[in-house]
Amino acid sequence: MAESPILQVTQLSKTFGGVQAIMNVSFELARGQILGIIGPNGSGKTTLVNLISGFVKPDKGSVLFKGRNITGLQPHKIANLGLTRTFQVMRPYHSLSAFKNLIVPLNSPRVKRSAAGRLGDMDAVAIDILEEVGFERDARVPYKAAGSLPLGYLKRLELGRCMALQPELIICDEVFSGLSMSEITSLIPLIERLRMEGITIMMIEHRLRELFRLTDRVVVLTFGQKIAEGSPDEVMSNQMVKEAYLGTETKG
């Protein structure tokens, strides 16, 4: 990889009241790649996301995004640089209709600066994005209060919210969890399309099989430490990883 990596995490550490949530984790992510982060429950995956996206300030270590140090920056500032994330627990703006949910990111400075922001009619943009993530146009769904949507739609909505920001890096925190096989298979092409558009993606996942169909590289966490990194099969053949997983759960 000639060009400098889009994301550089070095020696990241965080403790919550004595508990080492993340310990000296460092890895790199090249532009346009899809990186998978796996690990048993409580291995600190979500904490890692929070640290990178700025929702939690790290005790130690640094995060470089596009070569710029964003450690301890306010989340919204980071997002405006083009790094955004989805949430594990789906909490849309339930009182707002689906497409209004997208009005929020469309109002962010980042979008306003860009072309689409000046494009004028935001609602139209919003609807387009929804269609892109798989809401049927003209159906009532986009106008329904987001609170009443089924989980599948919520995940798409979440992705849509990220896309509205025209990001360069999206961190997906367990988008697959809680979805049926068919829903997942319908989501996968969407993610691939994002990658085609040149968006770098970092996926936190439990559903290893689906994950491995997408990712080029995988990082494995256990108890807040990186125990392995590499291509899916390398990682899976790694002894420590086996233990880590067999020890805890048998998926994958």
């Binding site: 979500t46 929070n50 929702f55």
Partner: protein
Amino acid sequence: MEILVYGTVNSIIFALIALGFTLVYGVSRVPNFAHGSIYVLVGFLTWTFVNNLSMPYALAVLIALAVASFLGFLIYRIILIRLRGMATSEIISSFAVSLIILEGLRMQGIAGFKGFIGPFYVLKPFVDGKINLFGVFIDYQRLIIIGVGVGLVVLLSWFTHHTKTGLSLRAIAQDEQAAMMLGVNSDRMAMIAMSIGSALAGLAAVLILPLGSITAEVGYRVLIYALAVCIIGGLGSWGGAILASFVIGFAMKISTALFGALWESVVLVGTIILILLFKPSGLLGKQKELEERV
């Protein structure tokens, strides 16, 4: 010396006032704004029993406490139970209750500041007289307060660590969901908490009111104090509450000594705001730093 002794007394008074409130909040996450009114109510009842029904003092106190805890139970059973989880509604409705009680009592003539109608509402201290403690005059009532205050804290901690009810109370306080899985009925616990909390408020009243006189304003003041202590200490954290009451207790005494009494209240509220700004969850707040909640 002066400051030390009376600061301690003051602090323990705060602790007494706040214990009931923090207990209720800790267990059921219900900010019981009716706390102050129950406090005054108990004082008033005791007074009436003693002076109008000429009961023996102890009996009057007991009955008053019983009434208080039943009232607490009722408040939860009839009103709060329907509003669980909606903090705003809980605050508003329980505050409405306290207004009802206090303003109702005011019609009994407990007008307070600038004279009052009818009789003086003053409880007699248990034991009259005073002793000289390290060159500071202190009356027995205050000694009693110290004693009971300390005793109560010990008792409570024993209660919550070694009795079934107490344990389940704590379980609820720590993790409602889990506790309910383990078959602890959170509503029942909340009711118990409310009853105990109100009884505690009453007890505090019976102990402290003999030092002053029973007025409606006391109710509001007590509420503010309780809030202050609990916020500074971290809502729902007992250790915090006790620590906080010492902080405030001394802060107020000292400020009185330094700048004069008028600044007492300023100092009080000032401390609260400062603490909240630098540590939004209070000194020993259990919940995570608020902005870390994701």
